[in-house]
């Protein structure tokens, strides 16, 4: 069979200032139906109006708790789920207009559960080579060569390609997943909690690997996680999500030094630090549980749990993302002052 060479990537290197990905007012509402023939009762608002820009070559971390919509946002950016509303552009083109095969090639994804993201019945060669086979880019001996190359990039031996996923440890499996993501030479990789299922010592190895690959290939990452330590280490900018909206987004150091949104404060104070001499600031314990995304609160979606919510304002008006300072945006009516702590805190 004739081997076709990969299509040249349409990267416009000259436009260095233009962001790679622009997200404008992205919304994804999942309908809840009563039954097969009943009309739609309500919507689960997984992503409820997100605006973001991602520059080429940077790593944007997205943190939030379960149910905040970060996974859905990632899938929207990848084009795996259609949006209910809003636009996402990739390299200047709306992703709906880009040829889907082209889209798949330039945006790749690494999943959370390394074991589950690989078909247990396929050899590593088939798993890593599947993107190439499916796109008709390599086959047979050529495929073996390419897979060997990719495996050595991620730090595995080429003869591993004949083994099966269950013979590898968690960290090695995640490396294989990364090799698969790199096989089509993408511009962008979505990392959906890649280290959450790994041990601490292996996590460090994988994070270092991601770092080196990013530098080598000039990749852009979105790193979804719920661990603030990891996101602090690896990302250039961090966005905090709550109930489908981005409540604060800024550069990493800035966010951790001067958090403005009360939720960010609560998150930061809730992380247990693994050292004796961590400043034990007063722990801000939020009351109640996360509201259901099918029925979000009126006004600011955080007001039901916010320690400084003001009745009449926070439960009526929805705050928009506003710039506090260069590169630091917050969606709050009463953002906390720089370097300050929350005026009222429980416990």
């Amino acid at each position: 069979m004739t081997i076709q060479s990969p299509e040249p990537n349409d990267t416009d290197v000259a436009s260095g200032d233009e962001p790679l990905i622009t997200i404008r007012n992205a919304r994804k509402w999942f309908p809840i139906k009563g039954g097969m023939f009943s009309p739609v009762k309500a919507h689960v608002r997984a992503v409820d109006g997100v605006d973001m820009e991602i520059q080429r070559g940077e790593t944007v971390g997205i943190v939030g708790e379960s149910g905040c919509g970060k996974t859905t946002l990632g899938r929207l950016v990848m084009g795996l789920i259609p949006m209910t509303e809003g636009t996402i552009t990739f390299d200047g083109d709306d992703i709906r207009d880009i040829n889907p095969k082209e889209l798949r090639r330039r945006l790749q994804i690494v999943f959370q559960d390394p074991g589950g993201s690989m078909n247990p019945r396929m050899s590593v060669r088939s798993i890593v080579g599947e993107p190439l086979i499916v796109n008709g880019l390599a086959d047979g001996a050529e495929l073996t060569r390419k897979v060997a190359e990719l495996l050595s990039v991620v730090g595995l031996k080429p003869n591993h390609m004949n083994r099966f996923p269950h013979e590898f440890s968690g960290g090695q499996k995640q490396r294989i997943a990364l090799a698969r993501a790199l096989s089509l030479d993408p511009d962008f990789i979505l990392l959906d909690e890649p280290t959450s299922a790994l041990d601490v010592s292996v996590q460090a190895q994988v994070l270092n690997l991601l770092d080196s690959i990013q530098k080598e290939r000039g990749l852009t990452f979105i790193f979804i996680t719920h661990s603030l330590n990891v996101v602090n280490h690896i990302s250039d900018r961090v966005g905090v999500m709550y109930l489908g909206k981005i409540v604060e987004i800024s550069e990493t150091d800035e966010l951790f030094a001067n958090p403005a949104h009360p939720y960010t404060h609560a998150l930061l104070s809730a992380i247990p630090q693994p050292s004796l001499d961590a400043e034990k600031t007063e722990r801000i314990v939020l009351s109640g549980d996360v509201p259901s995304p099918a029925n979000p609160p009126s006004g600011c979606s955080f007001h039901t749990r916010c320690p400084i919510a003001v009745k009449g304002k926070c439960d009526v008006d929805e705050p928009q993302l506003e710039s506090l300072s260069e590169g630091h945006q917050v969606a709050c009516h009463f953002p906390v002052e720089f370097g300050g702590s929350l005026p009222i805190h429980t416990e």
Binding site: M1, T2, Q4, E7, M36, M78, L80, D97, N99, P100, K101, R104, R105, Q108, I109, F111, Q112, D113, G116, S117, M118, N119, P120, R121, M122, S123, E130, P131, V134, N135, G136, G140, A141, T144, N162, F164, H166, A177, R180, L184
Partner: protein
């Protein structure tokens, strides 16, 4: 490009083949290791293997063919049946009580008689009797059962098949009929592999004098055939429907599941009754040739479509195609269904009837395939706007003659079988293909059991497909752009079929039991056929005195069903994901 250039590719293919074989070997070793942990599973395997061996070698082991029809259809002769309802290992299997009509002998002025077997019916429906070799002359009674002195009769020393009747008896006109009891050389009915004394009438004989052992051995063939046929057909139908339902989800899933519920509600045995009654007149199942040929053509068309999609008109050269993923898989199916509907209702039959020679039929098939291919290319070209330039060169380059190992795939086998079928059927003289020759009652109950059996598998596969569909690797495959067909056949189905194997083996046992039950009621095998349920039913009248008539067929059913059940249980351990395959 010469043969040498392909050496690298060939080596690579060979290496991958050997890897796959090696992996299969390891898998089998591991399977055996898990399986043999359970003693009951080994017992089950042993039972199943012995039943299968018996059914294969039934001709050699059995001493009597059950097809032997000894029923007197005209009720003219008082045919003396063989040892009726004799106990296992009873002596009387080698014994014969021959009635001799002295009146007849006197008429013909003979004073001796041959030792003859009971009247048998030959293949051409003529009656005959075998000459027996007497080993021991036991008793002599008259018509009313009063014993007569043995000395009245004596064997011819040189020919042990001939009895001389003494003059005393011949002239005694008060005795007109005598019954001679003697043991004869019954080596034909002795099993050579059993010890003497225990080698004849191993399971006794039934009412008509037939050897139960042989009947049970031949019955295994019937039961296993029923079990495997029904199980296989239900698995195929159930898998197809279940995977469609599971994969598409939504409305399609709901509708198919409600239809499945309707089939579930139908009780199997009652439906079997109905089928037998309704299809009473149907004796064989034939398909007209033109219709039958469409089946292999359908298979070839499917592969033609994927060939066109991958090689001749790959999507990767399409400019900007609107991705309407909800119709991605539906459209080609719809297209093929439309084409075939058109062919069935339209000109195919007439085209076919034009000539009856093999050449014409083959040509017609090739024409049909070209027509289908043309329509598919046109569809892709017009709807998806994929350019057709260069299609000729791509068609030439498509077949990689330098690397024959590439074609050692399932796809090639199917294409080969389809082509062979077309070839052989096109040489058919009659205008129809006989699918089932003897559409007897057994077939009808098999159809009934298939009819009610497939919903179980559909449900099973649907559940598994739904479960596997949510796994991350399926999403991963989709995210790299794998088409639905690949996702279905390479990712979902291989991970979903494990419980199917268990259900399959258990179902064979259940089907054998159902079929035996139906034969017991009288619905299954025709009278005289060697089906275990029928044997139990026949022997029921003589229970509990002659309990071997019921016991041995019952044990046979027990052993077979139990064997399959234990096998299924053992397999369940093997496919259990907790055993970390």
């Amino acid at each position: 490009m010469t043969w040498q250039d392909g050496e690298e590719e060939r080596a690579e293919s060979r290496r991958r083949l050997s890897e796959r074989l090696y992996q299969t070997r390891i898998d089998l070793a591991r399977t055996w290791k898990i399986y043999r942990r359970s003693l009951l599973a080994i017992v089950g395997l042993f039972m199943v293997l012995s039943v299968c061996t018996i059914s294969i070698f039934a001709d050699d082991i059995a001493v009597e063919h059950p097809g032997r029809d000894i029923q007197d259809t005209r009720d003219v002769w008082t045919i003396d049946y063989e040892p009726q309802r004799k106990e296992p290992f009873s002596e009387e299997c080698d014994m014969r009580e021959q009635k001799v009509s002295l009146t007849e002998l006197r008429r013909w002025d003979e004073n001796g008689t041959l030792a003859l077997s009971p009247t048998k019916i030959a293949d051409d429906s003529s009656f005959y009797q075998d000459t027996l070799v007497v080993t021991e002359y036991r008793a002599l009674v008259d018509r009313n059962g009063y014993p007569l002195p043995l000395g009245l009769l004596y064997l011819e020393p040189s020919n042990h098949s001939y009895f001389w009747i003494s003059d005393e008896l011949m002239e005694n006109n008060s005795i007109n009929q005598i019954k001679i009891t003697y043991m004869f050389d019954n080596e034909d009915m002795h099993h050579w592999w059993l010890p003497d004394g225990y080698d004849v009438c191993v399971f006794g004989t039934n009412e008509e004098g037939q050897d139960m052992f042989s009947k049970i051995l031949y019955g295994s063939r019937v039961s296993l055939k029923i079990g495997f046929t029904v199980a296989t057909l239900t698995v195929i139908i159930g898998t197809v429907i279940g995977s469609i339902s599971g994969y598409f989800g939504g409305r399609v899933d709901e509708v198919i599941m409600r239809i499945t519920d309707i089939f579930f509600a139908v009780p199997g045995l009652i439906l079997a009754l109905a089928f037998v009654a309704a299809l009473q007149a149907v004796d064989d199942f034939t398909l007209p040739l033109w219709f039958a040929l469409l089946i292999p053509i359908a298979f070839l068309a499917v592969y033609l479509r994927s060939h066109i999609d991958e090689t001749l008109l790959p999507k990767s050269i399409a400019p900007d195609s609107p991705s309407d993923s909800s119709y991605a898989l539906v459209r080609p199916i719809l297209l093929l269904v439309l084409i075939f509907a058109f062919l069935v209702l339209g000109p195919w039959e007439y085209v076919f009837e034009i000539g009856e020679s093999r050449t014409w039929r083959l040509a017609a098939t090739a024409l049909a395939l070209c027509f289908i291919g043309f329509l598919l290319v046109v569809d892709r070209h017009l709807i998806d706007m994929i350019p057709t330039r260069g299609i000729g060169t791509r068609a030439k380059d498509a077949f990689d003659w330098r690397n024959p190992y590439r074609y050692l795939t399932f796809r090639t086998i199917v294409i080969f079988i389809a082509a062979a079928t077309v070839f052989s059927w096109s040489g058919n003289d009659e205008g129809s293909i006989t699918v089932i020759e003897n559409f007897d009652r057994l077939w009808k109950i098999q159809i009934a059991l298939v009819f009610t059996g497939w919903p179980g598998y559909a449900r099973l596969i649907r559940g598994q497909v739904l479960y596997v569909k949510e796994m991350a690797f399926v999403e991963a495959a989709r995210s790299v752009g794998a088409p639905s067909g690949r996702v279905m056949f390479r990712h979902i189905l291989p991970n979903a079929w494990a419980p199917l194997l268990v259900a399959f083996t258990l179902d064979i046992g259940g089907t054998i039991l159902s079929a035996s039950g139906l034969s017991f009621i009288g619905l299954g095998a025709e009278p005289g056929a060697a089906e275990w349920g029928k044997l139990v039913s026949d022997g029921r009248a003589f229970f509990p005195q002659d309990n071997w008539l019921v016991f041995f067929p019952g044990m046979a059913i027990l052993v077979t069903t139990l064997g399959f059940n234990l096998l299924g249980d053992g397999l369940r351990d093997v496919v259990d994901p907790k055993n970390r395959r």
